[in-house]
């Protein structure tokens, strides 16, 4: 007889990893690791990306704009596929089709966001090191990727008619919330420091 844990092992596993990360960061355990990370962030500013980001404001601003375009595409994929799971958009298209077909675009958008995000981080590395909101964003991003690839994608790979509708709706809401959090914390970095 399947238990809750065996039935939702990936979800429970992902939740445990996210919980551990939260405890690690906010439970005081990271305090000992944190000073050692400063050297890495100082080194990031000395890389060619860091040099370009700090020296050429136009290049930095242009990459920021590409980052925003990536965010728009990622947001579009999330809203289309999760909106479909919530029966809000594309209701006459099978949910599986919407999810499968937007997934590839989602991955490209995520790669764009990560690449431009690394570039931007190099340009302001020692600034973001001291920003709590930056670490929160990294946590949210990690949680988002873990949730998307380890929980959401495998779950939606099943026949959706066999899944509990409440579960699929919860997955959609969680997905929208986690990616909104990634975007909102990113925006907040711009206002901080």
């Amino acid at each position: 007889m399947p238990t809750f844990i065996s039935e939702y092992s990936r979800t429970v596993g992902a939740a445990a990893v996210i919980l551990l990360l939260l405890v690690f960061v906010y439970g005081g355990w990271m305090d000992s690791l944190y000073p050692g990370l400063l050297g890495i962030f100082e080194w990031l500013e000395t890389t060619p990306f860091g040099y370009i980001g700090k020296t050429w404001g136009a290049a930095f601003a242009f990459v920021e704009a590409i980052h925003l375009i990536g965010l728009a595409v990622l947001g579009g994929c999330v809203i289309a596929s999760d909106g479909r799971l919530l029966n809000l958009v594309l209701t006459d298209v099978p949910a599986q089709t919407v999810f499968d077909r937007t997934h590839k675009v989602f991955v490209w958008a995520l790669v764009t966001l990560l690449a431009t995000g690394v570039f931007m981080a190099c340009g302001v590395a020692t600034k973001i090191y001291y920003l709590p909101v930056y670490w929160f964003k990294m946590l949210a991003l990690g949680a988002g990727m873990l949730f998307h690839f380890y929980v959401r994608k495998p779950l939606l790979g099943h026949d959706l008619s066999q899944l509990n509708p409440v579960v699929t709706k919860l997955v959609a809401i969680a997905s929208i919330l986690v990616w909104f959090m990634v975007a909102a914390t990113g925006r907040w970095i711009g206002f901080s420091g």
Binding site: I69, G75, V78, V89, L90
Partner: protein
């Protein structure tokens, strides 16, 4: 013309609400964040529609379905962006109206509106013959590419507005000054 725009901007700038919005740290940031984050809804939907026409997203879903069903959230997103955009302009009217990036952005917004009108007109006229094709006909694809290009440049210009490279106060040269609408060196933040 530039003087007229300047006088209008100064009139807005003299309003108490404009100053209050500009100087309210949280309110201004909320408005700006909403403007930026709504990109995920408005441009997200628009880019999906454009990518569908190019055969790069949802190629096996009828194009008309994608265009019509995603139109509603897209328009909701654009409405929010439009309102927050006006508020952002209202908060900093003089500097914004004298920004070359803002002016390019406005011209491109008009170009986007015309392109969107033509795109939908052409699509509605012919969609029944290619609705289920993975890629739309070339002139529809051209419209989708122009939409992607224009909007990408709009995002770049929107980001550049925040920087002061060609601000009137930084003496950008006569040509750029005219384009940006600098009036006799008069600037205000």
């Amino acid at each position: 013309m530039n003087e007229l725009v300047y006088n209008f901007a100064v009139w807005l700038d003299d309003m108490q609400w404009s100053t209050m919005l500009h100087e309210s740290y949280y309110m201004y940031n909320w408005v700006e964040s909403t403007h930026v984050l709504t990109l995920m809804v408005s441009l997200g939907m628009l880019f999906l529609i454009d990518l569908r026409m190019l055969g790069l997203a949802l190629p096996d879903v009828p194009a008309s379905k994608i265009a019509h069903r995603l139109n509603v959230p897209m328009l909701i997103g654009f409405t929010v962006m439009f309102i927050t955009g006006i508020l952002l302009f209202y908060a900093v009217p003089v500097r914004t109206s004298q920004s070359i990036w803002f002016r390019i952005k406005m011209v491109l917004l008009v170009a986007c509106a015309i392109n969107a009108y033509l795109f939908h007109k052409r699509m509605n006229e012919s969609v029944s013959s290619w609705d289920t094709d993975a890629r739309a006909p070339s002139r529809i694809r051209m419209g989708a590419m122009m939409s992607l290009g224009f909007w990408s440049i709009i995002v770049v210009c929107g980001r550049f507005i925040a920087y002061d490279w060609f601000d009137c106060s930084s003496f950008p040269g006569e040509f750029m000054s005219t384009l940006a609408g600098c009036v006799d060196g008069q600037t205000r933040f």
